[in-house]
Structures are given as structure tokens and as C-alpha cells.
Symmetry: C2
Subunit: 116 residues, 2 copies
Amino acid sequence: MDPLEASRCCSPLDEQLDAQLFRALGDPTRLQLLGCLAKCGRACSVTELSACCQVDFSVVSRHLAQLARAGVLTVSKQGRTVYYEVRYREVATAFRALARSLDQCRPKQRGTSCGC
Amino acid sequence: MDPLEASRCCSPLDEQLDAQLFRALGDPTRLQLLGCLAKCGRACSVTELSACCQVDFSVVSRHLAQLARAGVLTVSKQGRTVYYEVRYREVATAFRALARSLDQCRPKQRGTSCGC
DNA sequence: GCTAAATTTGCATGGTGGTGCAAGTATACA
DNA sequence: TGTATACTTGCACCACCATGCAAATTTAGC
């Protein structure tokens, strides 16, 4: 199969290769915040999280909002405090689904590429 | 646990949240190339792949090199033709490992966050 | 209502990255 | 040896983005 033909052929990959998601994860500061939040294991406020990295408070606020927009975090407001939490289940599921789709595309021994 | 403490506490996540990888996947053109290449299921030349997107040939060359640098593709030269192929197994493994690490951080019912 | 705390939102800035064109490099073929 | 093919690299340009500061917004507590 030609790559040009392959590009016109549908696969779950087309939706799973989400540029917005990967773009959100492609910044060191955002990854630091995500790692911090993930290892913490609970919902954290912007103030708490800003203690984890050296950038300005407003920058942290923007980064967290972006991660939430990408579907990596959830937001919940409690009084004047905003809590962010990792969407563990959803993110893990998305990555596993992507891995599965890649496996299905992978040509097995004498197999015929993905069945799309 | 405070997020600041959590940031100082080691986890497989620290290595799995690789900014270079996600950055490489964070561009629509690169994702198009990757999807095309993945669905194709075989090694493709730069010329073949440049037929899949509308950008200049040199841009495709650069994008493929970047994906290779990030560990997503492998390169192999045959004569004057350069073939790129998806590292199916490695990429899928990396994503599954990341999903697993996230799961381990996730607080179970009345559990105590990740055991790091 | 007033003040303080928590967060968001302009605004300006510096840097990085994606893109196209042209030139350069490497290899096959006659 | 010379020419064509496949690809890479230098260069310039433009857009977007991460950052910091300051002002604005929202909400709690007195």
C-alpha cells in the first residue's frame, strides 16, 4: 500500500493522534506541573502548584488552563480557590487506545498491514 | 501530600513525561505524516511521504528527522533513498508504560496516592 | 461595603518554530 | 565523467508562544 492511499484510509489513529493533546504536553513547565499533580494524587490549587515551578503565578494559571482544555486535567472551583486534578482514567485510557491502534497497524509476520 | 513534596518524590513518570517526544507529536503536519506512515505499515521514502501533505519537500524531510530524533521513527538509507518507519513496538510500549504509571499514581478508594 | 486573598486577563517582549526557496551533498546510471 | 534523482541544509520570514508585570475580577471574612 502506498502512503498516499494509506492517508485516505480511516483508522482510529486519525482521532487518537490529537495535536492539541500532544501540544499541551510538549512544554517542560507544563509537564512539570502535570508530573507534580499526578504524583500528588489529589486536586491542587493554583497557588499550591505554583510552588512547584519557578515561573510566574499567572503563567502557571495559563498552563493549567491549557492542560484542562486538552482534556488532561479537570477544574473545580470552591470559593475563590480553583482546583485542578489529573484525569487519570481518561488519559491512561487514551494512551492505551493509541498503543492498541499502533499495534493493529503494525505488520505481523507476512501479514497485510492494518485492516482499515 | 503537598504538590511541592510530590515534585521532589521520584516516579517513573519523571522520565516518561518526555517533552521532546510530545513536542514532536504536537504539530499537525508531523501527525499527518506519522498517521500516514503508521497506516501504511511499511518503511516509506521521503518522496512518497511528501505526497501525503501539502508542505514543501524540505519541510517533510525536517519533520521526519525530528520524529526520528524523538524516537518515533527509524531511519534506514538504501542507495540515495531514505526510508522512515514507525517504531511500533517501542512507541506503543512507551504509551502503555505511561498509562500504567498514571494508574499507579491514581488514588484508589481510601488509598494513599502513589507509593513513591 | 471594605479589604485581602485567589485567580484570570490584557499587554508587551523575546525567543522559538514551521515554512518555502535556493543551494549544496550524495548516489545511481549512462 | 557527467547528469539526473533523492535528500539535506542554509537562510530569511512570519507567526505563534512562553514569560513577566500590572490591572481587573471574583469571593471570603470582618
